[in-house]
């Protein structure tokens, strides 16, 4: 059993009681809601005649269903309009702070909360979305919940949950030039597998992690769930504190000093005990691309799609399914695979630093004529910042479409979808069958820089050829 880790400290601080069945009742410090997984929870409150216990601890935005081309209301899609109206009504009725379209702070919930300084070290954070693990980048314990648990948080500000074990993933050395956080996390998932994290919180640590910016750390923690871990976190440090400082909802004045002192005490102790420990060498990671139908099925850009016999017996079943669905042959090189659509965005890689990196690759270049490329900023703030820096112009001049913020083609709940068996190069997080809106659509996950390179060449390419040291 883990001891003295940040996870243990935060869990113990938030534990309200031990429940009769043996699970814990845990206080949720920050509850984030959006339009897809909350309406049924509010409905259940109404059915049970319950109120929202602490409306000041819940914050809402709208992201999954918003169109990214024309956001004028009512939305063209009636169902989408009904969902945003329901959220507006629920927030108004229960006095929940809502960052709506046009507020300047709307966007993907996991992009917005850190930007506002809502996400802070030592908090427990829950949201009806599996990528809530993103917020762990700040040393909070953050995890996705289902709608019934959204109901429980609204009604009681707590949930029933079994304490997780803690696995430390120690990343030695540092990433080489042209290799990004996305490549590292895809590599980690490939090495450990997509279900290794079940029952665990992942602590990402080591020199390679320390080196990363806050936005890169968010990319790492974001995809913990793709490795099976409901929660992933990084111990807070000076980078964490300076990111939060002066944000809208950050502690101010004397509270800031107190917060800082407290945050510094949360780090996993030197003598922490972990349930498991994994070490890997970050300097060996190459630009990484998925070839299959789970985020664990990836290879380095210079590697080949693995032969069946090279895989462990447990992985062979899904690999066979993947070859067939993707139309790839074992031994085939991933490099030069033609792509039809290029998508930059999502809670994994839709932040300002992601847009900067992609724009740098695209500057003075043109997107291949065979490719449809579009960029969806993670939030209104990201979009505004990008415009201020002239990134939108670089994207547009290269041939990328510049869109409004939202989740967009990460999960294709709006009109941004693949058609037929199109192949997408995508900076998002899931390459599941049908994930990007077409039941036969195919997704290759990669870093935003690699998506930009693929857009220029019309095929999977090594971005290191495009950037100078």
């Amino acid at each position: 059993m883990s001891k003295h880790t940040l996870f243990d400290k935060v869990w113990d601080l938030h534990k309200v009681s031990s429940l009769p069945g043996g699970s814990d009742q845990v206080f949720i410090g920050l509850h984030l809601i959006h339009e897809v997984t909350s309406p049924q929870a509010f409905g259940a409150l109404k059915d049970k005649n319950l109120k929202v216990k602490f409306p000041n601890r819940t914050v809402a935005t709208v992201d999954h269903i918003v169109p990214t081309d024309n956001q004028s209301r009512p939305f063209k899609d009636n169902l989408a309009e009904q969902m945003i109206e329901t959220l507006e009504k629920n927030c108004l009725q229960h006095k929940i702070r809502f960052f709506n379209i046009g507020s300047g702070n709307q966007g993907i919930v996991h992009v917005v909360a850190p930007e506002l300084g809502l996400t802070q070290p030592g908090m427990t954070i829950a949201c009806g979305d599996s990528h809530t693990s993103t917020h762990g980048a700040f040393g909070s314990i953050a995890f996705g919940i289902g709608t019934s648990q959204v109901r429980d948080v609204l009604a009681t500000q707590t949930i029933a949950m079994n304490k997780l074990k803690v696995r430390q993933i120690w990343c030695e050395n540092k990433l080489s030039h042209g290799v990004y956080a996305k490549d590292l996390v895809l590599h980690i998932i490939n090495q450990l597998g997509v279900k290794a994290g079940v029952g665990f919180a992942y602590e990402f640590a080591g020199p390679a992690i320390n080196e990363l910016s806050m936005e890169e750390r968010m990319t790492i923690c974001n995809m913990s769930i793709e490795g099976g871990a409901r929660c992933g976190y990084i111990n807070p440090d000076e980078k964490t504190f300076s990111y939060i400082k002066n944000k809208l909802c950050a502690p101010k004045n004397e509270d800031w000093d107190k917060a800082l002192l407290w945050w510094k005490s949360l780090k996993s102790d030197e003598n922490s005990i972990f349930d498991d420990l994994i070490k890997l060498d970050a300097s060996k990671v190459e630009p990484t691309v998925t070839w299959g139908i789970t985020p664990g099925q990836s290879v380095g850009i210079n590697q080949q799609i693995p032969f069946l016999e090279k895989l462990s017996p447990n992985d062979q079943f899904v690999a066979k399914e993947a070859y067939e669905y993707m139309g790839f042959k074992p031994g085939q090189s991933i490099k030069n695979t033609p792509v039809d659509v290029c998508f930059i965005g999502s809670c994994t890689n839709g932040r300002i630093s992601d847009l900067r990196v992609a724009a740098k690759v695209l500057k003075d270049k043109k997107v291949s004529k065979t490719v449809k490329a579009f960029v969806v900023p993670g939030s209104e703030k990201v979009a505004a910042e990008a415009k201020q820096e002239g990134l939108d112009k670089i994207f547009k001049e290269s041939g990328f479409q510049w869109r409004e913020p939202g989740c967009s083609m990460c999960l294709a709940m709006n009109s941004d979808k693949l058609i037929g068996n199109q192949v997408s190069a995508s900076s998002s997080n899931r390459n599941f069958k049908g994930r990007q809106g077409s039941p036969t659509g195919r997704t290759l996950l990669m870093s935003p820089a690699m998506v930009a390179a693929a857009a220029i060449n019309g095929k999977v390419s090594d971005v290191r050829k495009f950037i100078n040291k």
């Binding site: 601080l13 938030h14 309200v16 069945g21 043996g22 699970s23 009742q25 206080f27 897809v36 997984t37 409905g43 049970k48 216990k53 000041n56 914050v59 899609d77 169902l79 989408a80 009904q82 969902m83 329901t86 702070r97 506002l116 809502l118 802070q120 030592g122 979305d129 599996s130 809530t132 995890f143 919940i145 289902g146 709608t147 019934s148 648990q149 009604a155 009681t156 707590t158 029933a160 997509v194 079940v198 769930i225 099976g228 871990a229 409901r230 502690p251 509270d255 917060a259 407290w262 789970t294 079943f317 899904v318 999960l411 709940m413 899931r430 599941f432 069958k433 049908g434 809106g437 039941p439």
Partner: protein, 206 residues
């Protein structure tokens, strides 16, 4: 899709039904219920859309479309079932189709807790036992009576000791899987915790 849906309520002590074998590892919640069906403000209509794309693709040969499985209610699955998105729409769709319990090699974390929260027990068995069970179902029909008190599944020919997290088993036996009421009992402790937590003192309003 069964005629009328009645959600589970209170103590869940026993579940009996016909088993349906659904073979495959890492079956994600996007496959169980594709995102386009998430455009809804209640779960009522989800049952008919469960596994929509897989079923269309298999043109009537999907396990959920086979005539002999029409009244099945126990799903036999493999490893990491329900991985991916936290959408409760996935177990809700399965439940509304008619699934009352699942037995598998392993389940993804959030999917598992969603199942518990809506009253679908998920049991595990070693890989070999699941595969034996799925092979058996290929030729014969398997009707199981699951007793949660003893974690025992009985049929005409086979008996299994099922594994389930002790906390989940207890919640089904006591009815506390529907957690809201239990959590509300500790409202005083919750209010105290709210007052104690360092960061809440930094400001009541974000």
């Amino acid at each position: 899709m069964k005629s009328e849906f009645i959600p589970p309520i209170g103590k869940i002590l026993q579940i009996s039904g016909k088993c349906i074998s659904l073979i495959g590892n890492d079956i994600d919640t996007d496959r169980i219920i594709p995102a386009r069906f998430l455009k809804c403000v209640n779960f009522d209509a989800l049952g008919k859309s469960v596994f929509e794309d897989d079923r269309k693709n298999l043109k009537g040969r999907h396990p959920l479309d086979l005539e002999e499985n029409k009244n099945g209610s126990i799903l036999i699955v493999n490893s990491n079932f329900g991985c991916g998105s936290s959408r409760e729409h996935a177990p809700q769709a399965l439940m509304r189709w008619g699934i009352k319990a699942m037995i598998g090699e392993s389940f993804a974390e959030i999917f598992y807790s969603n199942c518990i929260a809506i009253g679908i027990p998920c049991f595990t068995l070693p890989k070999k036992s699941i595969q034996d069970m799925q092979k058996y179902i290929e030729n014969k029909s398997l009707f199981l009576e699951i007793d949660l008190k003893n974690s025992l599944a009985k049929s005409k020919d086979l008996n299994f000791i099922l594994e389930i997290k002790e906390s989940s088993r207890k919640m089904f036996l006591s009815g506390e899987w529907d957690a809201t009421a239990t959590l509300l009992e500790n409202v005083k402790l919750v209010e105290r915790k709210y007052k104690e937590l360092t960061y809440i003192k930094f400001g009541d309003e974000f």
